[in-house]
Symmetry: C2
Subunit: 124 residues, 2 copies
DNA sequence: CTTATAATTAAACAAATGCTTAATTGTTGA
DNA sequence: TCAACAATTAAGCATTTGTTTAATTATAAG
């Protein structure tokens, strides 16, 4: 009771089946987090910055992109709260932040790599 | 040796810092997985189908979208290997598949909800 | 102050994405 | 076989997105 009835009743109570649905807002928040990593270039950059701290030019070199393009992605990752940048001299060094969110995403990436990407890792 | 040298040498050896980078292909694979969940509507639908099995009309009703729109997302989630659909009579019932990949994504969603979405859950 | 290098910002554009409406296919029951 | 309902597909469109090139800002060194 209190629940909107569905067009079709297949016998199962809505709330019993799945509990309450999180609010729309939560899905929006989460989707935008996944969207951050839903781009190959940005995912590589984030992965990179989980493993080292580097300046824009070196990042550009590592991922084979122009620095404006990299800068663009860095800004998104930064505003998404996944990385930070600090200027030292002429260069700005970026690295992943150390938060629950960033750690969870990183471990998620590594875990999914193991499951979905048949790659043996660096030569031993 | 054997490594492309970076434009700037900041003293740290490339390989020591971060190990070998997974191949580009792996990042592409992973990015497309994250892209699946990088849309609010699709994320809701996937979450829903992790918690119950439903026909298209009911899904449409639950997420407040037209059935063509839902069908569109269902096809993507299906081709992404996250859900399956089976026809029973006039209806096609969809639910999340039971694979490592889908389970990891689901637990990731729930974990991230806890961290990032200040919501107390269903009334007890 | 001037020059060189690093990084960001802006403008422009092609490509991809998600939704709408309309048409089509599939299934059931009269 | 026909009518009703469920689902998918197709076409069209507006929006978003990622990249490029060019211009601008920031810092260090001569």
């Amino acid at each position: 009771m209190g629940y909107p009835s569905l067009p079709h009743d297949h016998g199962e109570a809505f709330e019993k089946e799945m509990g309450a649905m999180p609010p729309l807002e939560s899905f929006g928040t989460l989707a935008s987090i996944f969207k951050e990593l839903g781009d190959e270039s940005r995912l590589r950059i984030f992965w990179l910055l989980c493993h080292c701290e580097e300046c824009v030019i070196n990042i550009s070199s590592m991922v084979g992109m122009t620095s404006p393009a990299v800068s663009h992605h860095l800004r998104q990752l930064k505003s998404g709260g996944l990385i930070t940048g600090m200027r030292r001299g002429k260069e700005v060094y970026y690295k992943a932040v150390d938060t629950q969110k960033a750690r969870l995403l990183h471990s998620m990436i590594e875990g999914m790599m193991e499951i979905e990407c048949p790659w043996e890792g660096p030569v031993r």
